[in-house]
């Protein structure tokens, strides 16, 4: 004989399943709720020789209509007619759990509260005034530890007592005057009708803007006039904020109840995060702190990645080249094959592979910063400065992403709702030093500035940001006038970076770098090698080769910047398909020339550049025309060929102009 049905309702992870298992033991049946894939668990509980049905409803945070789980739970409570509801609340997270309780109270159903996992809460020194809690909720509250079976018997006793209780239930929530008036008005519309749900609750949900209720009313064929009246009501009140008002009333109630009945230990007022943030997000100290952090990153990158590991990688590639050459000569391989493998592959692609340790260290350090939660702080402190240059802080996010690769940096501008912000950010992102430019800087730094490698590297990155900001200001004053839209940035708490995340981040970048060297760059180098050794009638790698002829034609353009040889000129153009190809081409053309003398690329660079021309060359590389992939994505994002063309030309012009200024001023000041 059925003596009553008890429904278990609670948030996910509130211990509801433990509760259900403790009550029903092996006496369970698992199926699906009709028409949906939501699991339905039912069981039997015997108390004083009487059998009760127990229904375990899905774990939910609220009784809206935003998920199948919520709809199933709500419909069951309202139409399945359980005799009593046991609301399981996680004692350690009471406010959040009480939000669901407030919605159960709105339904005016018989309720018993199981304050579950009190042992865990007590360990955290959280105490409860159960009497006060019960008074506010108008329902019995019993502390439980369901997985140990503690309090389960008492809860069932309270639930069974509640089944027989005839006392009417009141909704203790207090809504604001206007909302209350609207609810009452809606109750007037709904009264005297055969509704599937309680009138007051239906009125609340309609005023809250829950369209699922209207749909349900239509389905059960309530009086058409009511549907018309509700639709009429929505026509005039859709812009009102009653949804927020009602939800806020529930939170306010949950908070008030917790405030009166929960005693928590005093929390540390100033946490470590607060202390760190006082410096890192400070209006005046934030940007200098960012500069210091990045300087340390570049110093470590250069010290470990280049000085410590880089020379090992370089000598390994060089050794491999020698062994291969001996082998090829031994097997009497044709001269062109030896030239292709040694000059093209080893000196070209190998010159790029040498920088794998450098890239590895840089991405390990950047991954560490990303995973620690610092990057959000960096973007936050830059927001103010960005605004002064006519941009929004989100542009800095695109720029940070652009440090890895400009393509995703430009793609990330999609989230900007202002076209002006988007266009400016797209046009300045290429000034960010992407990972592909790193090998180029490293060769020149190793050749001329190795004592201050980290500082020079940092200065190049910083100079890129400076040029980007100046260009943003100029573009904002000329082509793209207007105000910037703003956004909200989430500041996550600091966390200790996990090795898995940091290593995965590093590996994704390094493997991408290696893959690119083996595909795109390899292809570019093959083309460059062919152009450098053809026609067969001329000396390979000479200015009479096809590549040499092109380079000789281009060289005068760069002479004012101090690096006007044909090799240096064609290397820059080889960098347009992929930036790393600049090093590959220089490696093939310079180191290839001296291969018999065993001169590696860095030494060759020392012979063809001076510190000043090396600096102007690096600046040209930093600022000039971005790679083809970046231009391609700009074409795609702007849906035009005009903007990539503008970008290609204006960045080239800026790169050339700044490189000339650096060289000419440097020369006038007596630097060489």
């Amino acid at each position: 004989m059925k003596n009553g049905t008890i429904a278990l309702v609670g948030n996910p992870n509130s211990g509801k399943t433990s509760f259900f298992n403790a009550l029903t033991g092996s006496n369970q049946h698992v199926g699906n709720w009709p028409g949906v894939t939501v699991e339905k668990k039912e069981g039997k509980f015997i108390y004083q020789e009487k059998e009760y049905d127990v229904v375990d409803l899905p774990g939910i945070y609220s009784l809206g209509a935003f998920s199948e789980d919520e709809v199933v739970a709500r419909d069951y409570i309202l139409t399945g007619d359980p005799d009593v509801i046991i609301n399981i609340i996680d004692a350690g997270n009471i406010e959040r759990n009480l939000y669901l309780t407030t919605q159960l109270l709105e339904m005016k159903k018989k309720l018993v509260i199981a304050l579950n996992m009190v042992d865990e809460a007590e360990k955290r020194k959280i105490k409860f005034d159960l009497e006060e809690l019960s008074k506010h909720l108008g329902a019995p509250v019993i502390p439980t530890v369901a997985h140990k079976g503690i309090g389960v018997g008492e809860i069932m006793e309270a639930a069974i007592n509640a089944i027989g209780d005839k006392t009417s239930i009141e909704n203790p929530l207090i809504y604001s005057g206007v909302v209350k008036h609207h609810i009452e008005h809606m109750e007037e519309i709904l009264k005297n009708n055969n509704l599937p749900y309680p009138i007051e609750w239906t009125a609340i949900k309609i005023v809250e803007g829950d369209l699922n209720i209207l749909k349900k009313l239509e389905e059960v064929n309530v009086d058409k006039k009511i549907i018309k009246d509700i639709k009429e009501y929505y026509k005039y009140h859709t812009s009102d904020s009653f949804e927020l008002e009602i939800v806020d009333s529930r939170y306010a109630f949950a908070h008030k109840v917790a405030e009166h009945s929960v005693i928590r230990p005093l929390e540390e007022v100033i946490t470590l995060t607060d202390k760190i943030d006082r410096i890192l997000t400070n209006k005046y100290l934030g940007i200098p702190a960012f500069a210091i952090i990045m300087l340390v990153v570049f110093q470590l990158t250069f010290a470990i990645g280049e000085k410590l590991l880089g020379s090992f990688a370089a000598s390994s590639i060089e050794g491999l080249g020698r062994l291969l050459e001996i082998f090829l000569i031994k097997i009497k391989a044709p001269g062109w094959l030896v030239s292709f493998i040694i000059d093209g592959v080893i000196n070209g692609v190998g010159a790029i592979i040498e920088f794998v340790p450098l890239i590895t260290v840089l991405y390990l350090l950047l991954g560490f910063l990303e995973d620690s939660g610092y990057m959000a702080r960096a973007a936050y402190v830059w927001d103010d400065l960005m605004r002064r240059f006519g941009l929004q802080g989100k542009a800095f996010i695109s720029m940070i992403i652009g440090f890895g690769c400009n393509v995703p940096g430009i793609m990330s501008t999609r989230t900007m709702d202002s076209k002006k912000d988007r266009m400016i950010t797209m046009l300045i992102t290429p000034f960010m030093s992407c990972g592909a430019k790193l090998p180029i800087y490293s060769v020149f730094i190793a050749a001329f500035f190795s004592k201050h490698g980290g500082l020079v590297l940092f200065s190049l990155y910083a100079f890129g940001i400076l040029v980007a900001l100046i260009m943003a200001k100029l573009l904002n004053k000329t082509l793209f006038k207007g105000d910037s839209s703003y956004f909200i940035m989430e500041l996550p708490p600091y966390r200790i970076p996990t090795a898995t995340n940091v290593i995965r981040n590093m590996w994704d970048n390094v493997s991408g770098f290696i893959k690119k060297a083996g595909t795109i760059i390899f292809l570019v180098i093959i083309i460059m090698w062919m152009l450098a050794v053809l026609p067969a009638s001329v000396e390979p790698y000479s200015q009479y080769s096809i590549l040499g002829t092109i380079g000789t034609f281009l060289a005068p353009i760069f002479r004012p910047a101090g690096f006007g040889t044909w090799q240096e000129s064609v290397a820059l153009f080889a960098g347009i398909p992929a930036k790393e190809a600049v090093v590959g081409t220089l490696g093939m053309l310079y180191a290839g020339q001296y291969v018999e003398e065993g001169v590696i690329l860095v030494n060759a660079i020392r012979q063809h550049f001076t510190p000043l021309t090396a600096l102007s060359y690096m600046i040209m590389v930093l600022l000039y025309t971005p790679c083809a992939a970046t231009l391609g994505i700009v074409a795609k994002e702007t849906r035009s060929t005009k903007w990539p063309l503008v970008m290609a030309i204006y960045t080239f012009a800026i790169g050339w102009f700044v490189a000339v200024i650096v060289y000419q001023i440097g020369s006038l000041l007596g630097f060489s």
């Binding site: 945070y61 609220s62 809206g64 935003f66 997270n93 406010e95 959040r96 939000y99 812009s239 904020s241 949804e243 927020l244 939800v247 806020d248 939170y251 306010a252 949950a254 908070h255 917790a258 946490t271 995060t273 607060d274 990303e370 990057m375 959000a376 973007a379 936050y380 927001d383 802080g393 989100k394 996010i397 940070i400 992403i401 890895g404 690769c405 393509v407 995703p408 793609m411 990330s412 999609r414 989230t415 709702d417 703003y486 956004f487 909200i488 940035m489 989430e490 500041l491 996550p492 708490p493 981040n505 994704d508 970048n509 991408g512 770098f513 893959k515 690119k516 595909t519 795109i520 992939a629």
Partner: protein, 87 residues
């Protein structure tokens, strides 16, 4: 509480659960829940800063690094702005 959260994040242009929790004197879990509700009700929207490029450059060597979400950002919708104006 939701109105206060909206007002605070609009004022600071920052969404920090610990900071909001301290300012509004409610537990962090409740702030989390409040933000979830504001998102659900359409007063704020979360923006995707990490763009997936699976359709445009699946063959790109850096495709894996492309759609990383380094920083989470939100925007207050027109509906949310309407509420802020009334607070």
């Amino acid at each position: 509480m939701l109105k206060e959260i909206l007002k605070a994040i609009d004022r600071d242009r920052l969404l920090s659960v610990p900071m909001l929790s301290k300012e509004l004197r409610v537990p962090e879990a409740l702030i989390d829940e409040g933000i979830f509700e504001l998102l659900r009700m359409g007063y704020i929207i979360k923006e995707e800063t990490g763009e997936s490029c699976s359709n445009v450059c699946a063959g790109c060597p850096f495709a894996k690094t492309c759609n990383k979400e380094i920083i989470k950002t939100y925007r207050i919708t027109e509906k949310g702005q309407g509420i802020i104006r009334t607070v």
